[in-house]
């Protein structure tokens, strides 16, 4: 490679930006291919003698979903209570504390439940996916799958992606309930509104649309987490250090992607 410092700095910088852009586009393309290939194996796998195993999907559902229930419950409860605290504090300015349910129910169901679930799953399972695939790649385990006649995308990626598609929305729904409940508990303690009255009000306020807004986002998040984890894992180079870098990158990228998508989705849907 020609040393970069012998050239004009502007030329070098331009080249650097260009290369980074090409690499970025390449990664997005790889991600898109991965999604398409995953659905291909899911639908036509049996015909190609590459059946996607239900057992593998169940195993991933366990790791990605069920084992995340305690942490999701804790964070959803905390967020629910935080919203209640802030809501009451803000509304007290207008003397409208009793209207806090409006803010809580919309915020939890439309924003905070999908967001917090997505972020936790990205940190827990997106990173794990990147680390697993990266380690398997540098240990030649991915090659071993190929030579055994096992397609790695079908064997490694599809179960994780399907499990994400099932578990992220399911966990989002779960954190909807937990978040709303614990917000209600705080409202009950602070304002003396009974839990039953709070629930009644919440059910009155929320429509199926609001619920679907949150769940729809969580479906997109689940695909983003899986694809970003896989692409980073698959591009690992240079041993254990490479795996660490890829894992960090996967978490940072998926959390950024989740937050940006969240805003775009809200913008498009509410117009």
């Amino acid at each position: 490679m020609i040393p970069t410092d012998t050239r004009h700095p502007i030329k070098a910088t331009t080249e650097k930006i260009g290369r980074a852009a090409v690499a970025g586009v390449e990664e997005i393309g790889l991600g898109a291919m991965m999604v398409l290939e995953s659905f291909y194996w899911l639908i036509f796998g049996r015909r190609e003698k590459q059946t996607v195993r239900l057992g593998a999907i169940a195993e991933q559902c366990m790791a990605i979903g069920i084992q995340a229930v305690p942490i999701i419950a804790l964070l959803a409860a905390t967020i629910g209570m935080m919203l209640a605290i802030q809501g009451i504090h803000t509304l007290r300015i207008f003397g409208a504390e009793s209207r806090v349910t409006v803010g809580i129910s919309f915020s939890v169901v439309r924003e905070f439940a999908p967001l917090i679930t997505g972020i936790v799953i990205a940190g827990r399972s997106g990173s794990a996916l990147a680390a697993r695939i990266g380690t398997m790649k540098i240990n030649q385990e991915v090659d071993a799958l190929y030579v055994m006649g096992i397609n790695p995308v079908r064997f490694l990626v599809v179960p994780a992606m399907v499990a994400m598609l099932i578990m992220v929305p399911a966990l989002t729904l779960f954190s909807d309930f937990v978040g709303l409940f614990f917000a209600g508990v705080y409202v009950n303690l602070d304002l003396g509104i009974s839990l039953a009255a709070y629930m009644d009000q919440t059910i009155d306020l929320l429509s199926v649309d609001d619920l679907m807004h949150g769940l729809g986002k969580s479906v997109i998040f689940s695909i983003l987490i899986a694809v970003i984890g896989v692409v980073n894992g698959a591009s690992v180079q240079g041993g254990a250090e490479g795996v660490g870098k890829a894992t960090t990158r996967a978490v940072v990228q998926s959390i950024s992607a989740i937050i940006v998508t969240d805003m775009l989705f809200a913008f498009v849907v509410t117009r």
Binding site: E48, K49, M136, Q140, D143, A144, V147, M148, G149
Partner: protein, 276 residues
């Protein structure tokens, strides 16, 4: 598998004028070689000679630039996805580092090809896996995780996984790398045993001279992407070529390079010379 009734092709692997690139760099420069049925073919060469690349192509893991490759009589460029999967069931590979799946036990690792490609019930698969583990003297270790095994044991477990489908060709990548001489020699014995007992063709890539002379029926010597020699170990010893004798006597080769080119390489003014 009713192919065993027919006479197998005399050459199980036929490579003709194989040219491969890594990026812009040419790695294999038109290689032609055959592997005969039931022989142990050792592919030798120093680091960067292209021997690992050749092995990856023989296992149909990479795409080549030009040339043809027939494995068990099938041109691998003309195979569909399903046909390639079927061909791969007749190939076994023992990777350099074992490449055992770290999330599965040794037994599950060995069983995986059976699980994926056959309709056998689990009990039968377990028995078959145990039988193969007995062959590599790892009987009773099937419930351990790969991380609990020593280096030599991992390689033997990898052999067990490679032979569980009774492949026609067994590929071994650097079987003795990173092992002490005694364990390395045991692995050589194991390769000989597998050929005797299971009647498979074995292709071994190694840079260990001693191991190569011990197990090989024929040896292919690669150097800088070209074939330097193909023949029996005795023919190799008797070969008069200087490069062969340097290899056998472990003499480092000096690159003859003129002073200007060397200076250019140092100052970075010319595209750097990259040794293969």
């Amino acid at each position: 598998m009713n192919e065993t009734v027919q006479t197998p092709p005399r050459n199980v692997i036929e490579v003709r004028d194989l040219v491969t690139h890594y990026g812009d760099r040419m790695i294999l420069k038109g290689i032609s070689m055959d592997v005969r049925a039931d022989e142990i073919m050792v592919i030798m060469g120093g680091s960067g000679s292209g021997k690992s690349t050749l092995l990856r192509h023989l296992m149909a893991l990479e795409h080549h630039t030009s040339g043809t490759m027939r494995i068990l009589g099938e041109d691998i460029d003309e195979l569909s996805g399903v046909e390639l999967v079927e061909l791969r069931q007749k190939l076994g590979v023992a990777f350099q580092g074992g490449a055992l799946f770290s999330s599965m036990t040794v037994g599950e690792n060995v069983m995986l090809p059976l699980f994926e490609h056959t309709e056998l019930d689990r009990k039968t698969m377990e028995i078959m896996a145990r039988m193969k583990l007995e062959v590599v003297e790892l009987g009773g270790f099937e419930t351990l995780m790969p991380s609990e095994l020593s280096g030599g044991m991992i390689k033997r477990a990898a052999f067990a996984r490679a032979i569980v489908m009774d492949p026609k060709i067994l590929f071994c990548d650097e079987p003795s790398a990173g092992l002490d001489p005694v364990v390395a020699s045991q692995l050589d014995d194991l390769i000989l045993l597998l050929r005797e007992a299971l009647g498979m063709t074995v292709v071994v890539v190694t840079h260990e001279l001693e191991s190569a002379f011990k197990i090989a029926d024929r040896i292919t010597v690669l150097d800088r992407g070209e074939i330097l020699f193909i023949g029996t170990p005795d023919e190799l010893r008797a070969d008069p070529s200087q490069r062969i004798q340097n290899l056998l006597n472990r003499v480092a080769e000096d690159d003859n390079m003129d002073a200007d080119a060397y200076l250019n390489r140092l100052t970075g003014e010319e595209p750097a010379y990259r040794p293969l």
